[in-house]
Amino acid sequence: MIKTRRRAEGKASVAGGTAYTFRLFVAGNESNSTQARENLARLCEKHLKGRYRIDIVDVLKDATSAFKYRVLLTPLLIMIKPRPEASVLGNLSDTKKVLATLRLTGDAQ
């Protein structure tokens, strides 16, 4: 249902329970959204290289998904895996806060 664009860097083929799956809801090319995309990519490359996957959902193109997941504010990052889900609102500029919310502060490499 969700039209996603997979990032080449985060190979979806990574097997096992260690994989991180993120869903990032953006609003077209709004500056906040663009920043969030960049910040998330950088953060993942640094801390989760080879172990993550990012699905991007553009609410301007896919309002149904936005409604389904009640995404009213953008950009919104949801960590689908590992459980439990965690989410962060905003352009993800505060790296420390984002890492803490995604439980990546301690064991991050």
Binding site: A27, A36, A66, N91, S93
Partner: protein, 503 residues
Amino acid sequence: MATRTRRAEHKDVAGQQKQRKGIPKVPTGIGGLDEVLRGGLPAGRLTLLSGGAGSGKSLMGLQSLLHSAAAGEPGILVLFEERAAAVRQNARSLGWDLAALEQKRLICLMEAGVSPELVISGDFSITGLLAILDHHIKVMGARRIVIDAVDTLLYLYDSPVRERQELFALHEWLLDRGLTAIMTVKTIQQDESPSRYAFLDFMADCVIHVDQRVTVQIATRRLRVIKYRGSGYGRNEYPFIIGENGINVIPITSNVLQHSPPGPKVSSGQAQLDGILDGGYKRGTSVLIVGTAGSGKTTLACMFAQAACLRGERVLYINFEESPESMVSNMVSPGVLLAPMIKAGRLIVQSYLPESMGVEEHLFLALKALDTIHPQHVVVDAISACKRMGSEHAAFDYLMRVLNACKERGITCFYLVQATGLDVVAEISGIGISSIIDAVVLLRQHPIGDTITRQLIVLKSRGSRHSEQYHEFRITDRGIVLVQASPVDTMSRSASLPGHGRN
């Protein structure tokens, strides 16, 4: 030259016509509010509803949306604070089937609450919300939108600049879509909120403020229109109630000076008193019956009611002192039989405890009774109890409005006043309504030897002759009976209360 003038004239006429026609409006369907707003909300524009917690603003938004949905115009309700289930339940308790309207795609509830635990990192926007709304508008063809508790969203931003930018974006979006919108905003502290959300007032085309205040333990609700671009509106503060059918605003439309002239005479229900009053009271006027406790006020009013009912007229008796049952049984002893009148549906007794509700609720019930029962006469027993509705001011409000409503409808209005002291005339003046009262009958009792002597005098009877003497009377098993026949020769014309020194 001539052409130009003609064109200018034409333009003028067009301008006048436009002005006369006014801006397009959409009725809210809320009783009384459309009257205050001279037709309704500005179509395709934003209306701001502000007020404290529990002031009724959300309900007002919901009610207007339900009204338009019932009329076939679809609308969206965005909830930033409440859950959809709670709103459905609220609607049900007021007699609306929200779920049915939802099924017909006439109303769409959208929960937009943001979890307080949501982690915020950096800037964000409401684009997601607008995208979802756009989707719904397209699907259901929505023309109306109510955005409830928009302040909850704004609190997520820690910068006033961003708050403002997002609200402007939202406003632009609303205007682009041509939606008739209501936005509700909580005002928390009277001194802080206006500065925080003052720009909202500038942005909106219509601003309505609602509040709930408590005076002497009784809550009253008020509504005031702060501004309305391109339209006239009622500029007062209007009381409103949340009743069984939702919100009802009580507009002050009556103008004391536009009352129809008083009608012909109507019997007081006591032949001798009719003699004193030169034929009786005047129909459609206001009569004050004043006296201390046990002086016979209720008996006099009930005799009038009985006579009216026997003539086939209807009387509404608003009783703040006793229940209909006790009133009926108490009137048996002076020979006034009310039970058959009640049974025949000609005498309608409504008993209320003054402190059981706020003044607007009392007012609403009274006005509703006037419009459903269509009585020829109204008795309020006793207006001295009205202070217990909250304050002197509340009592005055109630009495003025009821009196005005009666005068507008040509209803004779009897106010019974329980006097406490000796200076009765001063007491009457103290209520502040004496100047608009047409006739005053004073009952007094004083001990002479071992017995109590009761006396009656007509202090005032506008536009009519009346006796100026005290008349002794007794309360017998045939009602009030004057001891001596009224001496008609002492009649005089009187237009005002006699001097204060006399009681």
